[in-house]
Symmetry: D2
Subunit: 303 residues, 4 copies
């Protein structure tokens, strides 16, 4: 089939390759003319034969919104837009309604797999009507990993459900990464453990903790056994936050995923953390405990 693909960055570019390799036709648009097949979104729409299918693979939020707005003005009744970015699930209902007023269909699809997706295939989590999902299925089949369809693709529910499942997937990912990281730090601290990279490597087969992330951890440690070239500074991309906010909304206890998120927040603060300044100030007030003044080198005391 034919598909328009907007956003040809790291993710979108690899996805184009995979869709083309499956025998489909892709008309791609990107603000970077070097990778773009057409000069404008208008050109992309013109190049597609109705009824059109257009896949958005661009940053969530403002950029996705402006493209939905633009496509709303360019596409025709019966065309279909898929948002494959990391949009918040609440945006999906808004986009579906906005496009729906013009008779344009909408599907949301969370895409997992990162830079490895090109060769391994992408894990896909889609939301929308049965008809719309069926219509895009050839593209889903091209993108997802080989093997049974239900092991790399889910039609999770109506519009928004795809991004919701992807959001929770990312929340779980935060928790798993932090679990491995905490284990790593303790192994690293313990003198009797002589070869931490080998321990992670050995967990690849037969163990309960084996996983793709664990293999990646072994790979990272094979390159830099003590991670000395890396700063312990971690951004977050939104889905972890939304997962925790949803959990709180629904009264779901979520200590592990929240903790993982908070460690990321904290990793960006260092000694500028207002909370830890407050704790330091309090200790000084009641106990005359040493406070590290700005610019001083802190002294770690024996305990």
């Amino acid at each position: 089939m034919q598909i328009g693909l907007i956003g040809l960055g790291k993710m979108g570019g690899f996805m184009r390759d995979r869709i083309v390799a499956a025998g489909h036709e892709v008309v791609g648009y990107d603000t970077n003319p070097q990778v773009s097949d057409v000069a404008t979104v208008q050109d992309l729409v013109t190049a597609l034969t109705p009824p059109r299918v257009v896949w958005l693979m661009v940053p969530a939020g403002r950029i996705t919104q402006s493209l939905v707005d633009e496509l709303g003005g360019l596409l025709d009744k019966g065309d279909l837009v898929i948002d494959g970015g990391n949009s918040k699930f609440t945006d999906d209902a808004v986009h579906a309604e906005e496009l729906g007023k013009k008779g344009i269909e909408f599907v949301d699809c969370g895409v997992s797999g990162g830079v490895w997706g090109k060769t391994e295939g992408y894990g896909l989590m889609a939301g929308g009507s049965d008809e719309n999902i069926a219509r895009v299925m050839p593209i889903f089949d091209a993108l997802r990993p080989e093997g049974p369809r239900d092991e790399g693709f889910v039609h999770a529910g109506d519009v928004g459900a795809g991004h919701y499942v992807k959001m929770v997937h990312n929340g779980i990912e935060y928790g798993m990464m932090q679990a491995y990281a905490e284990g790593y730090e303790l192994l690293e601290a313990k003198e009797i453990v002589k070869d931490v990279p080998a321990a992670f490597k050995a967990w690849t087969r037969g163990t309960v903790v084996r996983s793709w992330l664990q293999e990646l951890m072994a790979d990272a440690l094979a390159k830099d056994a003590t991670l000395e070239g890396i700063e312990g500074f971690v951004n977050d991309s939104g889905e972890g936050r939304w997962t925790v906010q949803e959990a709180v909304e629904y009264g779901v206890p979520m200590p592990v995923i929240s903790s993982a998120l908070y460690q990321r927040f904290f990793s960006r603060q260092g000694t500028a953390s207002p909370a830890m300044k407050a704790v330091a100030a309090l200790r000084n007030e009641f106990g005359g405990h040493e406070v590290t003044k700005k610019g001083e080198k802190p002294i770690v005391t024996d305990h």
Copy 2:
């Protein structure tokens, strides 16, 4: 080679099968005469040709200790004992010293894989001298999964290092399980997600969270989509506790693994939780908030 194996329960029995299948000779002892090759530990020692290798696969603590004591009196200089149970790493030094006084060698080995190990092989984490590890290597090779040795086996350091790595492995396992569980609960709570088992199944390929535990979660949900037949009551087996205590000892922040451990503790308390009784009592003191008296059915108020 020839090996004595003490403990032929679920784990030990399967391990015997796997070692025998690799062409080695196993003399097994168990308190259950139906699975035991010999009548007593003394008989097992007699049946082995010196220098002997004896693998313990029994519960950590008292039972392991009494067998170490007994073997200390029966084995000869140059014999070797491997503790493959879930012993605390601090026990290993004690056992090595006790046996060492009699010239008996000691190796500790954490064994992962549960009931699946028989077919898939066991993840092995060993501690001890190079000579002793080399001596037991044929058995390690029989037990570990097929594939490169370093993907299913690690010689982690001297005595104790094997159980230490296994302890941390189990701590990570707690964190991962809780991460999946929290994600499951949120998906289950969200109305727009129509098929939670299918979501877990779909994460099997291509996603960042794919893992053996994730596949097991998909299997469990395939059998009972809402887990309605199961009580949310979870025991812990010691390694999670030791992991957290070690982290605290070494000043390693471990919020995720600790949270996972605490949820297990809490799952066993329910409304008998002294802490939550205290919070309920406090709310009553300052706000006249309703307290649920013993035997009353609690009322969940809108918030």
Copy 3:
């Protein structure tokens, strides 16, 4: 001065007493005719001399909204409404705008102190314009505890700031209560500690942890030393949730307050916790660990 007070429940009733005791005139309305001075909100508005001041002391959400709507139709330009309930701070802007369209002023005020406020005075956190705050100050002075004004009252900022500070106050309260509760549970568990109620009593003077909540904890334990008459089941009232959601929105690490909130959620689930069912199911999948079937009595195994 003269004030209309809507909501004469436990909080509102005591507040009326305190305002009257300070020499002001209160016209009170409640749906309960036994405590109400007037028959309807319309009657209350009629009974007040313009420019009127009306204090709402009713449940947040739907009830507050409907009263704002009703007052918007009854009050005149230059009248002033104070929302003293536990409204979410985002509601304040909505209410201020809705009333503002008719020239009616708005102030929000968080009120702390519970049933003790009648005698001890209420901690007040207000948001609004300088003019509006000054206009209500005689009432604030009547409600707040004796002593310097700035030790029991804050004008925290413009509309919404009062409820925001109160929201954070309640979040902190959750954390403090849980801290005492965790300490209580550990003291209770430890055999060598012979008199836990006496320990809490002894913390009343001289210690770092002394506080009003600690005194209430001592009171509660004086009545029921092991809290055996109380179920460990705790509701939450919204502010804790909003605090955590705000923290996540702003990238503020909030592990303590989140944990306290989650323990409340969890206290209401018991063995019906979907997450802990999932952990139990997972353990069964990989290890053949015992699962407690619905209706069975769980067995706590030695670890």
Copy 4:
């Protein structure tokens, strides 16, 4: 009565003043000759009339142990040693046994209050036999705050119980401080809150969160409204660690106090955190996410 006091630092010195002010005789020893009454521990023992009472107010661990050893050699049967330092409760049994072999009595006493104790009195938590506690009671009465004895002193149980209650007290203190600190950080982050120091000040009377720590927080913010002169770097002194380790030992869920402890650990790591390096490395492996190389300035991306 007469008492020997070893350790005349910030705590010990103030305690001497308070004991003397109550009419008792103190013979003080310190390694600093400027504050010491005698030249050696031997001289202190000689200066006291048997049966002697000697109060240790020195750092826990090595220093306390060496003084117990020394006093064991110098004191006579029927003398009594009180350890008022922050010793671990497990040390108490060891010290009691060591001294007991020579007929020397032992009492442990946790002392709270910091630099404010001199004027406000110290919160005291004692462990030991009824006879021994009674014997030291005049000193306890001199040190504790004015008011009823049971509001500033507890005889918590036999040897070790005093330090245990103090340990839990400090664990609770960690949790409370972190709760205030998290609330502070959120208030500081929120634009609509115009005066955070005033909010803390206003919580002094009438609110549920009022406490001594809250007053100290208000004091600290009065001096430095944004704590800009302080680094967010916080040491820990042992009791928090022991509290968490005990909780884990006893199966007590302790998420709040653990979180507070971990934030202190983390505050000392900054971007050198091995765990956060691991998370950063993992993100790079699967997603090509930017890793901050050592020495680079991290870029916080929009989410």
